[in-house]
Amino acid sequence: MSIPANLHYTADHEWMDTTTGVATVGITLFAADALGDVVYVKLPDLGSVVSAGMVCGELESTKSLSDLFAPASGEIVEINQAAIDDPALINKDPYGLGWLFKVSVTGTDKLLSASEYEAKIS
């Protein structure tokens, strides 16, 4: 399963593309496959402030409901309306069109490198 080398990961299967400035956040392909087809996604409100490790949304699939955890602390500066309107994007392209939100990073918990994340899920 391809795990982009340039991203940072959490143990809760989120990814983020940078640890400073404005980071884009999504869930991993591993998580998307495990959920099955996502039919509903709830994202944090634009302008709200999240803290690393807290529940900031939910992902619902045919068989399950999963909390979405914030991988970083900071203000939500953009949310992906396309993923809300068509959650199938999260399954089809979790590292691309299926991104979830952008956060202006003020801090993170411990993040995993691609190789550390790969070791965790294999």
């Binding site: 039919v39 509903y40 045919t62 068989k63 409901l65």
Partner: protein, 363 residues
């Protein structure tokens, strides 16, 4: 506990299926995207392993009269070569299981029970078999069941069984089919709302038939899409719309009860009373404004915030592209004056009552 495996277990694993424990069986939930599998059955042809279902055979000169006594339907009126949807109820008129019964010969019937209920149906039929000249045998573990469902099902299955006359095999009919060494019961029944077949056969033949059906264009479909397909088609699932606290009449299935048959059947007097009065609640269909899923057990709420019912099954419908559910709704709820919502984890989501089924295929 070790899960039971169907004859096709290794095939599912080789296909990379996500497997799940269903009533003690290791069953394929989905092979890839359950939404794609759902749409495939609606537009083309899906292939299901249903070998976990129960096949209980009733044989003997009193077989028809026994089933008239033990079940709510009039099975003695079913012709050889036909099948009928029916139920086994208890004395209170509540549902022990819903069944499809196939008349194989004058004195031979095959009763197909839900996987979760095979033991209880077998025990109950055996206990009710007092003073009838017939035997009740559970052949579930030696029977494989493969379903081929979808608008292309006839095209696919007719290539495997070219000698069978499909124009004479109508909905809820069945026939014995054979090709080379393969002998099957080929039934035009299903649980998806599409045209299709359920094929009962010996365990040793299951892998070969599955492969042939794949070769002729059927694609594997898992139990996840089977559930959303039957929900769209408004079909009940035991443990959800039907259970030991539910009678067939409130489930909207009073038509399966044959009050007029010559023999008194188990549950008759209770069911007759229910039929004469009115039910406290009824099974309804709802659609939601939100994409969130109204799951089994969630409460229905009226405009005053009072609980007026419970969801029995909910899903995001791939065909309708909206969240749908079946639910029991209190009889006193007035749809003209009131508004309905579903309490989804603390948020009341607006719901609309709609007639069942949600989906009906064009004939």
């Amino acid at each position: 506990m070790t899960l039971k495996q169907t004859a096709l277990d290794q095939i599912h694993i080789d296909l990379g299926a996500v497997m799940t424990d269903f009533a003690g069986w290791n069953m394929p939930l989905r092979y890839g995207s359950e939404t794609q599998e759902h749409l495939l059955v609606r537009t083309d042809c899906g292939l299901f392993d249903l070998s976990h279902m129960g096949e209980i055979w009733v044989e003997g000169e009193d077989a028809a009269r026994f089933l008239d006594f033990a079940l709510v339907g009039e099975l003695s009126k079913v012709a050889i070569g036909r099948a009928r949807y029916t139920m086994i109820c208890n004395e209170s008129g509540n549902v022990i299981d819903d069944l499809v019964v196939y008349r194989i010969e004058v004195n031979v019937f095959m009763v197909v029970a839900n996987a979760s209920n095979v033991q209880i149906v077998f025990s109950e039929l055996s206990a009710r078999n007092q003073g009838f000249a017939c035997t009740v045998k559970d052949l579930s573990e030696s029977t494989a069941l493969i379903a081929v469902q979808g608008p292309s099902a006839v095209k696919v299955v007719s290539q495997v069984f070219p000698k069978t006359n499909f124009s004479e095999l109508k909905n809820y009919g069945w026939c014995l089919s054979n090709q080379d060494e393969l002998h099957v019961i080929l039934a035009r029944t299903g649980y998806t709302g599409e045209d299709g077949f359920e094929i009962f056969l010996d365990l040793k033949d299951a892998v070969g038939l599955w492969q042939k059906l794949i070769d002729f264009g059927a694609k594997p479909a898992g139990l996840a899409c089977r559930d959303t397909l039957r929900l769209e088609a408004g079909m009940p699932l035991y443990g959800h719309e039907l259970d030991l606290q539910t009678n067939p009449i409130e489930a909207g299935l009073g038509r399966v009860i044959a009050f007029g048959k010559s023999i008194d059947f188990i549950g008759k007097s209770a069911l007759a009373q229910i039929a004469e009065s009115s039910t406290k609640r009824n099974l309804v269909g709802i659609t939601l404004e939100t994409r969130r899923i109204a799951r089994a057990g969630f409460n229905l709420i009226n405009k005053d915030g009072e609980i007026v019912g419970q969801i029995t099954s909910g899903a995001f419908s791939p065909t309708l592209n909206k969240s749908i559910a079946m639910a029991y709704l209190d009889r006193n709820f007035d749809a003209q004056l009131d508004t309905l919502s579903v309490d989804i984890r603390g948020t009341n989501e607006l719901a609309t009552l709609v007639p069942l089924p949600f989906y009906q295929r064009k004939k």
